[in-house]
Point group: C2
Chain length 423, copies 2
């Protein structure tokens, strides 16, 4: 007998029919003898409706009241899920965040989970009940309802899994796993069977929007094994969790690197379009220059992605290039020109919109030299010009012209042997 | 400076515009220096939507989960009301039932309030905040969310008013007070300025659906002065509560009899149609006979209203007549005929649908003899035949043929001097 946390997102609980379908997945695991906690999002569309009301009430509003309003959506889906489970003969009860309790910071609207007392959950699971818990929310030290920010239900699920020492945390969503790249760009994209937390983190933050970045960070820190899988599967046609917690069904297991026997050099290729680049030439190269450049941008709420700084010829000045979303380009240029008149010294500023960031990701890079070099060669073979390069331990990213993005992704996907084999 | 509880029903918080209008009523009282608690219902229509989902989830369902789902509606309106008040410069915060806490029994779906700890409310009001409290709900001894049953928000408001020792509890609704009779039947119906709790109880249970019966009972027991008034009034055109808690605005004050100087002999006339009557003749007159008649009806969930039992000529048998809703007539006849074959002895059973119950209500009846007699005469003058009569200390009711109902109400309304004077 194992303990499992099953998380269902908004599209998986969009109406009673969908909730009933999700409940059949739960019943399968209960019938196999497992202890189960369920974490639910609000019914698809409901959170948007609630958010719209708070905006109509006042454009700028008390985050504590926003949280009280918006958190009601999960209370509804948790109650309905419990009713549906009971109707199927599965004993269940709902828990609002404050009832567990899921303790959080008081940073309303984007609170962090600080502690989950598992006592009540253990107690109810031992009594044979499925605990259906509202995702996305908790309770502050002052007893107010808090929310964790958009997509926070994934984080709730992982935190609950850590608290009840679950053998696995299954994230049911509208796709059937994590892919080597976007299947809309590369029809031969393969579903990945196993991926390490580190790789998933890079994939998540690079645009494979399957899992919230925070939930993957937490899973890595707490060693919670995640499975990304489809709630649309026929619940009777997929096997339950094995008795010893072994994974035997469809989906992608996100786990510790040690659990992955055959490490791919490259596990996935990602792309992000609409990246603008800005170059400052002849920036005075002294301590604090980076702060002088990026401080004003941060103040203007502009998120900077890739940053490259070259050593200058004379050792006195330097060139800095970085990327930002296209939509922020004009604002960023204005901010920097203004800074140039006061706190920041540089010779010239230039930039352009319409770039694409292409990344290859894989823990195997650590032990295989030359991945970056081979990537550049693969792109060069297709006549694609590389404008910027950044690398981390398990990732190499390049900036290219946007119109070459799909070509680049397909070329790299094939080059690293990720294409699905012909049936 | 006084303390006031202001309750807004579903139509008064139906959308953000309506909430804003209601909030202006609150601001008026705050600006006058009063301490205010607000009690809100769910946005009109929302509770029905939530209830429908629980039914779709399972026709028969766990009342605890029903409560968790349905109580979310007031959480939304309380949060939105707080946001709107803050936007108007009125400091406010929302309280869910469990946050106050409003402690209730664990009779989910129809819980009773057992205790309200006013400490937090006093504390927040002293700090200058308006406390916006979810109506209709509380928390059980087991920490589960409970609801009080339909219309329970009135009861919440009265209970909060008792807990914070409010000078008054204003029930804002879509009518501007309690009327001497239904204005749709009698255009000359007058709004009553003051009415006693006892009279209001009779009015409420007889179909003037302005206030929940339970809330009036509680107000009477706790001596909470109620005002029934319209939320549609222009908030700036009605005066705030007087400094000493005196009533000076529009609406109907429901209060202790002692507060009403000029007692009307009759305060109101009510009517209820679609009443069926059933007569059992020759029922064996011995102890327990009433139970033998009404037990089977109660078991069949049939609510009996008027009951008349005549003493028999021979002292051995009796005739019993009672009324029930028309819709239950066939069922009741079947139930009684079946009982006649086993546990109940009678000579014959007869009955008919299509009656109307007409009542005159007034605390003045206590000290004025002959009200019943004058009522019968007034009806007789119009050629209306009386089928049944029941009386209580402050009420006389008769059953007549349904088609005479409006005529009877108008005649009595005029007879007892309740008609509005011509302008």
């Amino acid at each position: 007998m194992a303990t499992i946390v099953m998380k269902f997102g908004g599209t998986s609980v969009a109406d009673i029919e969908r909730i009933r379908h999700a409940a059949r997945h739960v019943k399968r695991e209960v019938d196999a003898g497992h202890k189960v906690c369920v974490v639910v999002s609000a019914m698809s569309g409901k959170t948007n409706e609630l958010v719209a009301w708070t905006r109509e009430a006042a454009p700028v509003h008390d985050a504590r009241e926003y949280d009280a309003v918006v958190a009601s959506g999960e209370q509804v889906s948790a109650g309905l899920m419990s009713i549906v489970l009971q109707e199927m003969g599965v004993p269940a009860r709902s828990f609002a965040g404050w009832q567990v309790p899921i303790e959080t910071s008081d940073a309303h609207g984007s609170a962090r989970i600080t502690n989950i007392d598992p006592k009540l959950l253990f107690d109810r699971m031992s009594a044979g009940l499925v605990c259906v818990i509202t995702g996305f929310q908790g309770v502050s030290p002052h007893g107010r309802i808090t929310t964790l920010g958009r997509g926070g239900s994934d984080t709730s699920a992982v935190a609950v899994a850590a608290a009840v020492e679950a053998d696995r945390c299954d994230i049911y969503t509208d796709v059937d796993g994590v892919y080597t790249t976007d299947p809309r760009i590369v029809p031969k994209a393969r579903r990945i069977d196993r991926i390490s937390f580190e790789e998933m983190l890079e994939m998540a933050s690079l645009g494979a929007k399957v899992l919230q970045t925070r939930s993957v960070e937490l899973a890595m820190a707490k060693k919670v094994r995640l499975v990304v899988r489809s709630s649309f599967d026929d619940p009777d046609q997929v096997p339950p969790l094995g008795e010893n917690g072994d994974w035997q069904g469809p989906g992608t297991l996100v786990c510790d690197e040690d659990e992955i026997m055959e490490k791919q050099i490259v596990s996935g290729v990602t792309s992000a379009k609409s990246e603008a680049k800005i170059t400052l030439r002849g920036v005075k190269d002294n301590p604090g220059v980076a702060a002088a450049v990026f401080g004003p941008l941060a103040d203007a709420q502009i998120v900077v992605d890739m940053i490259v700084q070259n050593i200058s010829d004379d050792g006195k000045s330097t060139d800095i290039t970085f990327t930002i979303p296209d939509a922020e380009f004009d604002k960023a240029m204005t901010v920097l020109k203004e800074a140039g008149e006061t706190s920041l010294e540089f010779d010239s500023i230039s930039g352009s919109k319409g770039g694409a960031k292409i990344s290859v990701i894989g823990v195997g890079m650590r032990s295989h030299a030359g991945v970056a070099a081979s990537m550049f060669r693969a792109l060069s073979d297709k006549g694609i010009n590389i404008q910027l390069i950044t690398t981390s331990e398990i990732k190499t990213s390049v900036l290219i012209e946007e119109e070459y993005a799909e070509l680049a992704v397909r070329a790299l996907h094939t080059y690293y042997g990720l294409d699905m084999e012909e049936a």
